[in-house]
Amino acid sequence: MKLKNWKEVTPGAVITEAGSSVKFKTGSWRSLKPVWIEENCIQCLFCWIYCPDMAVKVKDGKRTEFDYDYCKGCGICALECPGKKGNKAILMVEEEK
């Protein structure tokens, strides 16, 4: 984004576009990457509610893929994942270059 000069800045630095932070991708912060293993997923949605970066996409009440544009790779989802019969549905792997 181009820096604004002082004449272009809104009075009071008001931002009129709600949720404009989506234009700032934080996925590049990641060093570990969560991988979703669908067959072990019981759709408990704990990963969705506990994700600090809103990077677990849910459609019609069902979990779908990770949003790697924003996932910072903290690993909360993988730790909290109950999995199926002791097999985790989320694993953290090294981020590739």
């Binding site: 931002i15 709600a18 949720g19 932070s21 700032f24 408990c44 506990y50 600090p52």
Partner: protein, 312 residues
């Protein structure tokens, strides 16, 4: 009583806190904010005290908030929001606005326990119809982990570093939830993001009550607590299970414990997960762990007695 909340039902709602905010990986604050905003079915207006949440969620042209949000200064989130709320009531009276709007202020422990305390106390006493949420991570994490009055006894901070002279903070943390209850406001509660259903239920209950409400929510900070990035939820759960952070509410002066751990864990289980308490496990400091356990047992006992006072 309202029917139980399910994640499936919540997941169909729009998230009012957007990704792309610049809080650290594994931060507890966005989890708390997300849950609070998901809990509400009303139009919301929020104010924010200066702190991690404020500086990272609203940087120049990027805001993570999808609701009207105002930041003024460190010390006056409650005062700012009480002004906004008063203006709303006036406009409503004049017939210029007809929406039902609820007001929520967010502050960290620095902006709530210390710097914003007098404005919070004032707003609560004046009876503004607002909910104040304190996300308590136990130090001034934004500026580099300086001790606050919410920092627990024995914690290592940059302004009270543990070493050969002192074993970290040598004072007890202040019990702000109880202080707010002493304001005799209609609703005060303590919650934890690990117990999301309890948290959501409390926020919903608070928003249905007219008048000032206060909620204190434990919010792990992996930078300041010197823990791993993936354990925010695990640590907040441990805080509840050790009774370091009991979950309770005080509604119209009546105390109710909303979650009782099946088995109360020793506080050492919570302390050993965090680097800020590492020094307490040295042989010369182990007596302090006993002291912490004692004070937690005492507080928990007190809370149960308070609850028993009203049980009939």
């Amino acid at each position: 009583m309202a029917k139980a909340v399910t994640l499936k039902e919540l997941s169909k709602k729009e998230l009012l806190f957007a990704p792309g905010h610049r809080l650290c990986a594994g931060c507890g604050a966005p989890i708390v904010v997300k849950m609070v905003l998901l809990a509400s079915d009303y139009h919301l207006v929020a104010a924010n005290a200066t702190g991690c949440l404020e500086v990272s969620s609203c940087i120049s042209d990027y805001t993570a908030w999808k609701i009207p949000w105002i930041h003024n200064a460190f010390e006056n989130a409650a005062a700012t929001l009480s002004g906004v709320e008063t203006m709303y009531r006036s406009l409503k009276k004049q017939g210029k606005i007809d929406k039902e709007i609820k007001f929520i202020a967010f502050g960290g422990d620095g902006g709530t326990y210390d710097i914003g305390f007098q404005s919070l106390s004032g707003a609560m006493e004046r009876g503004h119809d607002m909910l104040y949420i304190c996300y308590d991570n136990g130090a001034y994490m934004n500026t580099g982990i300086q001790r606050s009055s919410a920092t627990p006894f024995g914690a290592d901070t940059t302004t009270r570093p543990a070493g050969s002279v002192v074993p970290g903070k040598t004072e007890q943390r202040k019990n702000l939830t109880k202080i707010m209850a002493a304001h005799n406001i209609p609703y005060v509660a303590q919650a934890s993001p690990s117990h999301w259903a309890d948290l959501v239920r409390k926020v919903r209950k608070a928003l249905e009550i007219t008048g000032p409400k206060f909620m204190n929510i434990v919010t792990p900070c992996n930078r300041g607590w010197r823990s791993r990035t993936d354990d925010a939820i695990t640590l907040s759960r441990l805080a509840v299970d050790t009774c370091y952070w009991p979950l309770y509410e005080i509604e119209n002066g009546v105390t109710k414990i909303t979650f009782r751990p099946r088995e109360k864990k020793p506080i050492a289980d919570f302390l050993k997960t965090q680097g800020r308490f590492k020094h307490l496990f040295k042989p010369e400091n182990e007596v302090l762990i006993g002291k912490i356990q004692e004070s937690i047992d005492r507080e928990w006992e007190k809370l149960q007695k308070e609850e028993a006072c009203f049980a009939s």
